[in-house]
């Protein structure tokens, strides 16, 4: 091995190991090195999910097609994060408005079927897991575009 090669190989071994240890020791992500904290917090008898629905001209709600991102856990975390920001109401509204605009763009392009929507609403559902059947309650997070 040449001197340069020895240096490169040593760095490729020691660098990732040192950064993995650092992420572990600090308890935080040093991308792509992680402390792997998924599911390490204690789960309780309540779970919350975030969902977005489209509002039809007659006021009825309908599910958004999967092509309109973000969905599922990503939407949930996005809303969590936006809710903590200083301009939370405006930021949340912009997310809903962007989802509405994306739906209308896909509809106009013929990529999805569906009626025109007047808005997109984002709900946070809280589900009680200790009851049978599980009890679900919904709270409106935001709506966009505003009338």
């Amino acid at each position: 091995m040449t001197r340069l090669r020895v240096l490169l190989v040593t760095a490729t071994i020691a660098g990732p190991i040192a950064l993995s240890l650092a992420a572990l020791g600090l308890g935080r992500m040093l991308w792509p090195f992680s402390d792997y904290p998924m599911y390490s917090d204690l789960a309780g008898p309540t779970v919350s999910v975030t969902r977005a629905v489209g509002i039809e001209p007659d006021g009825g709600e309908r599910s958004l097609p999967p092509q309109v991102e973000p969905t599922g856990l990503v939407l949930h975390l996005n809303v969590n994060h936006a809710s903590r920001s200083s301009d939370a109401p405006a930021r949340l509204r912009r997310i809903a408005t962007a989802m509405w605009a994306e739906y209308e763009r896909l509809r106009a392009a013929g990529d999805i079927d569906g009626p025109p929507l007047t808005a997109v609403r984002i709900y946070r559902d809280t589900i009680q897991l200790a009851t049978r059947p599980h009890v679900r309650s919904a709270a409106l997070v935001t709506q966009g575009p505003m009338p």
Binding site: M1, L8, V9, T12, I13, P16, I17, S20, L21, A23, L24, G27, M29, W31, P32, F33, S34, D35, Y36, P37, M38, Y39, S40, D41, L42, A43, G44, P45, V47, V49, Q67, V68, E69, P70, G72, L73, V74, H76, L77, N78, N80, H81, A82, R91, R94, I95, A98, M99, E102, I127, L129
Partner: protein, 299 residues
């Protein structure tokens, strides 16, 4: 033997180039099939307010257009195929590593951290630096045609896989430490895993709903929680104690498959990293001559 000599021997004991080559072939092939359907352009359609790039993605400035992302996605997938075939290593594996870090980094750049892609990204860079195409590759075939002798055993073929083993051990150990740090012993002794099993049915879409039935047995859930933490915290022993290595490695693969099937969290891109534990030369011997393989293993 001193610590320095032990470490040196662990990383640089000479080995044949075949092991590393088989790992390269499987790793790149697996990633190609895992991400064949990955629609990179989707990120251009996500609301701009959710954009929170990881540092590597941020290096490249603002998010490109959907058309550019599609082009980058195709280039990356082609580089993965070339990586599996072992053609033009410095270029193909370099493109696979850099584009892979960028495109997989995007999955963690919209408010959701993705813990399953870190290991593949790191290993892409390790395979790039390593002499991973010295055997079972088009590069090796071309070199042979030019009259170069076949690669002989060297430490160059040992350190990449040894590094992968240490990184895997640290990843599982970190997961165990995180559970102790955030949940403590309550992570095992309470109904934590039971609630998690039920809650996942609402937050994710598991391929199987068996976790709902497991949740009917709180004692079994605690046993599974204890087993999970014990497995994660003891995983580094796989490096030092060959006798328990298969149990720990197979157990960890089972854990990740279980999380995928019962909880809907996809670790398929991560699971492939476990190939670094396999002695592929012995597998090859077993395929060619089962009796000889048993004798070699016994020796």
């Amino acid at each position: 033997m001193s610590v320095r000599e032990t470490v040196r021997s662990f990383f640089f004991v000479p080995s044949a180039p075949t092991n590393l080559a088989v790992c390269r072939l499987i790793f790149f092939g697996w990633l190609f099939f895992c991400f064949l359907g990955y629609d990179v352009a989707q990120w251009a359609r996500v609301p701009a307010d959710t954009w929170e790039p990881v540092w590597f993605v941020e290096l490249f400035g603002r998010l490109p257009s959907a058309a550019t992302l599609t082009g980058l996605g195709i280039a990356w997938k082609v580089s993965l195929v070339l990586g599996a075939l072992g053609l033009w290593r410095p270029v193909s594996l370099g493109v696979a590593a850099v584009l892979g870090a960028y495109l997989l980094g995007l999955t963690g750049s919209f408010g959701k951290a993705n813990y399953d892609i870190g290991m593949p990204v790191i290993l892409l860079f390790v395979f790039w630096v390593a002499r991973s195409t010295d055997a079972l590759s088009l590069d090796a075939l071309i070199a042979r045609r030019r009259g170069n002798p076949p690669a002989s055993p060297s430490g160059e073929y040992t350190w990449p896989l040894a590094t992968g083993r240490v990184l895997l051990a640290l990843a599982f150990f970190a997961a165990g430490v995180a559970k102790l740090r955030h949940g403590g012993v309550d992570w095992i002794t309470t109904d934590n895993l039971r609630w998690l099993f039920i809650g996942q049915q609402y937050t994710h879409a598991p391929p199987l709903n068996w976790a709902v039935y497991l949740a009917e047995f709180p004692g079994l859930c605690r046993l599974l929680a204890g087993g999970t933490m014990a497995l994660e915290l003891s995983y580094p022993l796989a490096i030092f104690v060959p006798r328990i290595r298969p149990w720990l490695v197979v157990g960890a693969i089972g854990l990740q498959l279980g999380i995928h099937l019962f909880m809907g969290v996809n670790y398929l891109a991560f699971i492939v990293a476990n190939i670094v534990w396999v002695d592929w030369s012995q597998v090859g011997t077993a395929v060619r001559s089962p009796r000889l393989a048993v004798r070699t293993a016994a020796a």
